[in-house]
Every structure is written in structure tokens, then in C-alpha cells.
Symmetry: C2
Subunit: 586 residues, 2 copies
């Protein structure tokens, strides 16, 4: 097994292979992909579709002198195997050495840590510009999927490449006729016309951006790709090489249901069945049900999704059920948020569905199109906090901090099913405020309570106690509850327990009262401390005779971590907090 | 004077005019524009070029039932005059009633507060979507300039309009062959081909996005425009109406030098001379000289500008002098920042030139493409703080707060010429950190000092004093200096005076020492308090026996304000601060 792959220790070894061996390498690579993905999961479709193109790239170009930049880089597994990192795929013990995205810490063949969409062309124009200024000669290649072309940054990149850079830049458009879900947007009509005319259609989005263009119909044919890449290798101006590939190529289940196999958890290769299938109620199922109900009750309701509808349980069947009440804008967060503002201003009820890591791509639209205009838009953020996505390029720990300096935006962090549903119902009914709802993660918490979110920044005083007040935001309210129990146990008094609900402002009345008869306030947040609720509380109480302890993550990027390690590191454990508090109340 | 304009109290009155009167109206509108702009300044070129199209729009469509959305809305002056707000142009005392941008508080004919580029199509798709859900019938119109088409959000909007909306949407592309400076990008080749072929070119960027298309060559001819608009008024699908206009039309000086007349300060109509011409050294001239010198010394240096090169003194002549060391990416902040990361990662020296209000459009690229990758990119932000731009859509008060939760980003706020130059030299020489430099504003401050920015987050202890420590960030260090003098005068002791330089982190050693022998720390910031340096200091010292008073703006949008009023409102005056401090140190 892996006979040929085992001979590849660097891209130079790929160049030594003959045509038959190159086919064998592709087969080995797919075996290696199966080995890793069946056991620990990962991006399936993007990697299975790009095996041949990656082999051809390394056959023709000479990385790291030639620079290859992968968009999103979730399709870089083959590249990794060919650049000295095959053990991350064929040696089970080494899986964790490989990040699943390009990563300069792993290899000189990776230029950037990348995980967000539509960046590769822009990055490549910069790499090429530096090359030109330094009077160096080599190829710069950006490899981008058709799905990523709906993102504005990619289109800005095409525009600049099409006129401002008069030197070598090779933009490979990997057209597999899919985004994560199906593609959306007029640009895909142009791509279709190009595929159907073998690249001859006069309706050519790339030429319209001023770019030279070449089409390769057999994008999973190594020899055809080698031929094409050789032609453009030393080109003296930017060109788009449009290759037609099959997402998930080489695995029947994946080509038959491309959306389900974009990313996979561990699975049985023979049957295609996932070993772990979530069942029972989850925050995802709660949200999905809410959306379906809302669409039935409110004729002007529309859910707008700029990335992964599956994160909210909206598979194809559910999307069809939603009909005109669902709109996929392609991978285009700015469009989603501005469009939502338009819907809201014209009397509709928009709900933007995204995750914390992707929604940060639209700070300005949240601020201007929504915030300044006070449009009653609801934005629901999944994968927030430190529990879910743990790759440096997909962190949820900035969910609150990203937006918490923008006026008019109400940020709600529900701590239970009840609170989440009341938050959703309130925000999609009221017409006064833009609202971001940070979705809780993990096991569903059931705690019945009534909320009046119209009283902006009014915290829920869950239990009146003494000396110490514990404020646990969102997910971390549960931690505050546990801490209260332990504190009573160890320090002999019952602390005050508060569920703030709001992250975007402080309950001044409540804090003023606490300052009169408490000695310490402890805040707990599931994200970075910076721009969090805790900092606002500490600042507000800066001139009062009360101590404030803010718990949350330090401002730094983290990668593939254990949550317990993080909490230990910042002292967010009952023992450590109780020790610190007991010193302060002596 | 204003014979015809005086008869226009609402768009309905425009419909009553005959062809000759419509021409007269255009003439009156230009007189009114001159009246306002010669006296208080404003956007010149965009408004003079769109007079005829705006008249034709209101002749054919029926606002506010039909919805017109202006991109940037700096070209909405004619629209304002025709929708009941002519006094803002012809009655000098009423100038201040008109914001210079569309503003729903002024009129039901304005849907949004808008000031940033490339948003109109996205907003319009949302307005149209709500209309469709509500089963209503009317036209939705987005009017966008060719310069704005380089921005990713506009392209995302075209993509969605081209496939996801099967109903009336009229996108008027106002092609005046200019951005603020000249246009940049491959898309402009396509527009040129369309103009030169009377719209017949097969290279059509709009059709490539799946859109229907119509060309109007005489974009300053009211009758031709009326004819075109009538054709598309009741269309059942999205269409682009591409109109060819002359920026600054009707004023020789403006058509001869379009960049200089994009925006103007008050001027003499006869001579075209501005009444106020800045002279002497300014922070702008200091930066311009730095850039020119840097380009001479560092062959791999490149200044990237995604908006207004003139804000840094880079007029056409200077740009030509910079040659390959200057690159205009069009209005495309995301492209600029990601490209800069590419330049830096490939060993070049990138400097991104923008202002606080526009750079917030690229939060994600600052975080991912630059921050995670720790690319040594320098971003220089002009118009930061509360002094310069005072329109709600162009605020500088979020300069620090927008980015201050992003790890790895060093934010420097220089307080003097010396510090600014040392910050620029350091950041464009070192290779360890991404750096945002917040440019000071107002009169140049001369204060000699040596800085070691390699010691990240090390504050400058300017003067050791007692009891109270004053920390004035950036621009506001001067305020801290004044406050120190007054404090000595009124309270009889000399406070400690600190210039922090860094906004992105706290000097823990220094703060620990201050906590031992001071009673109060006062922080002064030229922006919102949220996510500022002060909050971080208050949080860090939350468990210490020292009071912290954070001064800065409350988190709210402000519009056309007086700085003194703001400072009074937040208590940032020497008298008020001294009173509060004296109570705390009793």
C-alpha cells in the first residue's frame, strides 16, 4: 500500500514519475485520504476532487520557489502529502501533526494560515507584487473553488489582477459546480456557459474582469492538466485557468450527495455511514424548528445564509420546505447582512444565519447598513465560544468581541433553550433594534424563566446572595451556577448569581446596588476578555469600592486546543477562583 | 433665480414639467449646488454629474412608493432638492438641516443613512425581497457609480441580483469614468468596451453576472434618460442600466480636474480657487514626505491605497513619482489588506493607507490574512478620533475599538510628529508584527522623545508624580498634559503623566507599580471607550486598591457634532475631572 506515495518526500520526487506512476500516485493519495478521513473526519469533497490537479501542479511547478496559495485551504491535503507531510495521512499516530489547512509552521511549501473563503487571489497579487519589486522570477499560483468566487474579496482580487499587475499570476479556478451547498449567483450562469462551450462562450466573467483565460474540460485528468499548466507556467501576465472537476471524485457516496460530503465526521468506507449521528434535541434542532415555524407564521420572514446552512439543520429538504422564506446568497457575508437590512427597512423579517468566525467578515455592514440605520435585523451566530471549532482559522472566541463596540447592536447570549427561543422570538418580532444572538453550544440546558428583552441591558438576578456576585454570560452561566455551589461549600456563604443575557451593555442599576453591599464581582465569559462584558463592568465600577475579576481568554490566537487546558491557563476553575476571591474578601 | 426649482416641493411636481422646464430645472439645481458648495463645500463632481439622471428618475418613478437607493449617497443632493429639501441648498441659514447624505430622519424619500461605498445593490436586493414577500408592486432602484463597482460588496450584490431575485430591480450604473481618483481594475476595461461599442460589446461584466443590460450613451441628456427609465420601469427581473455621464458636468474647472473636484471646500466660483488652502507642515505632509523617502530607500516598499490617496497628500504627481511603489486597488479595502499581507510574506514592505471609517470594512482580513499570519503589514489610519469627519457615516471614533480585540495586531497611537515618524519607521522596518498606526489629527505637536516600540506595550513615563496618574492616548496626550498643569494648580500636587503609545495592550509592570503608590488612574481616549485602552486598564487593575476613571465617548453613533459638546457631555473637561478625582483622593 502507498507504494508510490511512499517514494514522495518532496515535490521534486513527483517530477520523476511517469504517466502510469502519476496515476498510481493519485490512487495512493485517495487511499491515504480515506485512511485519515474515515478515522478522524475532515473536508472530503474538496480534497477528493483536486487530487489530480494538485499532482499536476507539483509536476509542473517547483514549490517552494513557485508559490501556490490555496483558497480556504481545506483542499490542500494532497499538497500536504506531496510536500513532506504524508505521515499526517498514512500514519495514524501522526494525524494530529497536520492541521487540515495550509500552515507555514508545518512547511515552507505553505505561505499562509488560511481558513476563510475568497482570499487567495488577493494574497497572490501581493506575493506577485513583492516578487516584481524584488526583481525575482517565478510563478505565483492561486487555486480557488467556484463556490469561493461569490465572495467579494475574490472578485476584488480578480479586478486588481485584471489590470494592476502586469506580470505572472496564474489563477486556477477549480470549478466543481458546488459551493458547500449548491452554488448561488449569476456568475454561475457564466461558468456554466463556459463549461458547455468548452471555454468558448463570449459570456466570460474572467475576461470581463480584464483577464486572460484558458479552459480545461477534463480537470481530473493529470496529463491534460500538466499540458495546460506547462503552457501558462512562464506567462508574463495574469491568466485564469478554468478547470472542470468532480467534487468528491473517486467515492460514489460523495459524488452522489456532494453537500453531505463536503465535510465528514469519521465514517465506514464500505457503507458511507457516519459512526456518530447526533440524535435528540440540540440547539441546532431547536433553531431549525424555530425557523420552520416562523416561516409559517410570518409571511415576510426570510432566512439568509452566507455560508453553511447545514449548521442550522437546513439541509436541502428543509430549504425546499422554506421556499421563498430561505435565500442563499452564495458565500457573501456582506451581501447577506446588507440585504437583511434592506429586508428589514422595507418591513420584512430577516434572520441572518452564520457562525462567529464568518460573520466577522462583515463588520462594516453590521455597523453601517444595520447599526447606523437601526434596522431590526437578527443575526444568529453558531459555533461561538471555545467549544466547537478549534482551528486557528475558525475560532468562535471573538463572537462577542468583534461587534461589541458597535452602537445600537444588541448582543444577546442566551444560556438555555428557553432563553434562546425567547431571544429569537423577541428579536424577530420587535422593530426597534438590530440583534446578534450568540447561540449556546454543547448540551441543551433546560432552565425555565421569563425574559423581557425590551428592557435593554437588564440582567437577570437569578439568586440574591452576599459578598460575591457571579456573572456568567451565555454558555458560562452554567459555570457560574456550579461555582456558586462550590463557593457556598468552601467559603460558607451563598454568592449572588446573575445571568446577564446582554453582552452589549451593563445593567447600571444592578451594578450600583451590588457595589453597595458586595465585595467582589466575578465575570465569566466564553471568549476573549477584550471588548467583552467583563471589561465594561470593570470600567463602569472603576471608581467604586468593589473588586472586579474578569475571567475570559487572553487576546491571542489559539489552535487545536483542549478547552480544559485553556480554562486552567486563565485560572477559570472553581478552585482557583475561590482561592482568589477568598483572599479579596478577607 | 430658482424659478423652476422653487415650484418643486415634491417629486410629483417634477412630473408636471415639460421638456424645456426640465432643462431649466437642471440649470436651477446647478445654481443651487453652487450656492451651497461655494459657501460650505461638499461633494462636487458626483453631484454635478448626476443632475439630469436624478431629474429623469423622479420624472419617471414615483418616490417614495418606488424606492431609490443611492450608493455612498454623496451624489444625492439633487434628489434632496426634488424631495422637499431645496432650502438646504438655496437658503443659506438652512444649510445645516441637510446632512449631505441620504438620511431617513430628513425625508421619507431616503431609505438609509449611507456613506460607505458599494452597498446600494445589496441593500436594494433586500428591499426588493421584502416587497416580493409582501406581494407588493413597485420599482426598486439602486444608483451606483462606476468607481464603487471595484468594491466586493457591490460585486456580491450583482451576483445575487443576477440569479437569486426574479423580480423588478433596476441597477443604474453611473459611469463617469472616475472613482475619487482615476478608476483601477480590469472591470473598467469592460466598461470602456461597452461605452465604445454603444453597449454592444460582447465583453459585458453585467451580463457575465447573469444580468439583463441596457446602455444609455448620453447620460446627461434628460430626455434620453427618461426614455430609458420608462422602458425598464415595470420590468419583471433585474436589469443594469449603464449610463455614460460626465463627472462635474457644468463646471469647467471640475471637468478638467475631476479628482480635485470630487470634494471641495468653499471656493470662488469665478476662479475655481479655494478660500482656504492649508500650508505649512501638517501630519499629512509629514506622512507624504515619509512615503516618498521610504520609496527611495526601500526597493520593496509599496503603498497600497483602497480609497482616498489625497488624504495622505498623494496627488497624481506624487503618485507618478512613486511609480511601482504605489498601487491603487480601486475602492477595495479587503483586497488592499490581503494584498499587503501577500507583499509582506514575500519579503516586501507594504503600507496600507486608509482612514478609520473605511478600514473597518476589512476587519476579517486584518484578523486572518494579517493577524493570524503575523504579517508585518503597516496600516495607517487617517481621520481617526472625533476631530475630522463628523458625519454619522464617516466617524473616526472607532479607529481603535474596531481592531483592538484582534490578537497580534499592535496598535500605536502617536502623540507628536516625532512619535509618528518613529512609529512609521519602526513598523516598516521590523518584521515581527502587524501594526496599525492611528494618525494624530489637528495641529502638529512637537515633542522630542525616543521610543523603543520593540518593547511591545511599554508605556512612556513622561513625568513621575504622585497620587494620580494621567494616561492620555495619542491625540489626547496633550489633554493629559494640560490636565496635569491644572491639577497641580488646583489640587497642589503633581500627577504622574504617561504617554502609552500602545492602545493594544497594557504595561503591566508600570500599572502594578502605579497601583502601589497612586490612588487614581485617569485614562483619556479620543474615541469610544468600548474596547479602548482604558477598559483594558480597568480590567487589569480590577482586584487592586486603586480607582480607575476611563474617559472616552459612550458607545453611540453621533452626527454633525461639536467636539466641545461631546467632551462636556462625557465630563472630559479639566474642571469636571479634577472635581471627581479630588473626591476620590480625599
Amino acid at each position: 500500500m502507498y507504494d508510490i506515495l511512499n517514494r514522495i518526500n518532496s515535490p521534486a520526487d513527483v517530477k520523476e514519475l511517469n504517466a502510469v506512476e502519476l496515476e498510481g500516485l493519485a490512487s495512493d493519495v485517495r487511499d491515504a485520504l480515506f485512511n485519515r478521513l474515515t478515522k478522524i473526519g475532515g473536508h472530503f469533497g474538496p480534497n477528493f476532487g483536486i487530487v489530480e490537479a494538485t499532482i499536476a501542479l507539483h509536476y509542473v511547478f517547483s514549490s517552494p520557489v513557485d508559490k501556490i496559495i490555496f483558497d480556504v485551504s481545506h483542499q490542500s491535503y494532497t499538497h500536504k502529502m506531496l510536500t513532506g507531510r504524508k505521515n499526517g495521512y498514512i500514519v495514524d499516530e501522526d494525524f494530529s501533526k497536520d492541521s487540515g489547512y495550509t500552515n507555514p509552521d508545518e512547511s515552507e511549501h505553505d505561505l499562509f494560515n488560511i481558513g476563510h473563503t475568497s482570499t487567495s487571489i488577493s494574497l497572490a497579487t501581493g506575493v506577485a507584487k513583492a516578487r516584481d519589486l524584488k526583481r525575482e522570477k517565478y510563478s505565483v499560483i492561486a487555486l480557488i473553488g467556484d463556490g469561493s468566487l461569490s465572495g467579494g474579496e475574490a472578485l476584488e482580487g480578480l479586478n486588481v489582477a485584471g489590470a494592476e499587475l502586469n506580470s505572472n499570476l496564474i489563477i486556477i479556478v477549480n470549478d466543481n459546480q458546488m459551493s458547500i451547498a449548491e452554488t448561488h449567483g449569476g456568475i454561475y450562469k457564466s461558468l456554466k456557459a463556459l463549461r458547455e462551450s468548452n471555454g468558448e462562450s463570449s459570456n466570460n466573467i474572467f475576461k470581463a474582469f480584464g483577464l486572460d483565460y484558458m479552459y480545461v474540460n477534463e480537470g481530473n485528468n493529470i496529463q491534460k492538466l500538466i499540458e495546460a499548466f506547462k503552457k501558462v507556467k512562464d506567462i508574463d501576465h495574469p491568466i485564469v485557468v478554468h478547470i472542470n472537476t468532480i467534487k468528491g471524485n473517486g467515492y460514489k457516496f460523495a459524488t452522489e450527495n456532494k453537500e453531505a460530503w463536503h465535510y465528514t465526521s469519521p465514517f465506514n468506507k464500505e457503507t458511507g455511514e457516519r459512526y456518530y449521528v447526533p440524535n435528540g434535541e440540540s440547539y441546532v434542532s431547536i433553531v431549525k424548528d424555530f425557523i420552520l415555524n416562523k416561516a409559517k407564521k410570518d409571511p415576510s420572514f426570510v432566512a439568509l445564509c452566507p455560508d453553511v446552512p447545514g449548521n442550522f439543520g437546513l439541509n436541502k429538504q428543509v430549504r425546499e420546505e422554506l421556499g421563498e422564506h430561505y435565500l442563499d446568497v452564495g458565500i457573501a457575508e456582506e451581501q447577506a447582512v446588507a440585504m437583511a437590512s434592506g429586508v428589514a427597512k422595507n418591513g420584512g423579517t430577516p434572520l441572518v444565519l452564520s457562525s462567529a468566525t464568518f460573520m466577522q467578515r462583515t463588520y462594516d455592514q453590521v455597523s453601517h447598513d444595520v447599526g447606523i440605520n437601526n434596522s431590526p435585523v437578527t443575526i444568529l451566530l453558531s459555533y461561538s465560544g471555545m467549544n466547537d471549532l478549534r482551528d486557528i482559522s475558525h475560532l468562535g472566541i471573538f463572537a462577542v468581541s468583534t461587534f461589541n463596540d458597535i452602537p445600537n447592536i444588541v448582543i444577546l447570549c442566551p444560556s438555555s433553550k428557553d432563553e434562546l427561543l425567547q431571544a429569537l422570538e423577541w428579536s424577530t418580532t420587535q422593530k426597534e433594534h438590530p440583534v446578534i444572538i450568540v447561540m449556546p453550544s454543547g448540551k441543551v440546558v433546560y432552565r425555565e424563566s421569563k425574559y423581557d428583552f425590551n428592557s435593554i441591558n437588564k440582567f437577570e438576578l437569578v439568586k440574591k446572595g452576599e459578598k460575591v456576585a457571579l456573572i456568567g454570560l451565555g454558555d458560562f452561566f452554567t459555570k457560574a451556577q456550579f461555582l456558586a455551589v462550590e463557593m457556598k461549600d468552601k467559603l460558607g456563604f451563598e454568592p449572588t448569581l446573575i445571568n446577564p443575557s446582554f453582552a452589549s451593555g451593563v445593567d447600571k442599576d444592578l451594578l450600583d446596588k451590588l457595589a453597595l453591599n458586595h465585595k467582589v464581582i466575578v465575570t465569566l465569559e466564553n471568549g476573549v476578555k477584550d471588548n467583552g462584558l467583563g471589561e465594561k463592568i470593570a470600567s463602569y465600577l472603576g471608581d467604586k469600592d468593589i473588586k472586579v475579576l474578569n475571567y475570559g481568554l487572553e487576546k491571542k490566537f489559539i489552535d487545536r486546543y483542549e478547552v480544559e487546558d485553556l480554562l486552567e491557563e486563565i485560572g477559570l476553575t472553581s478552585d482557583k477562583i475561590i482561592k482568589r476571591v477568598s483572599n479579596l474578601i478577607k
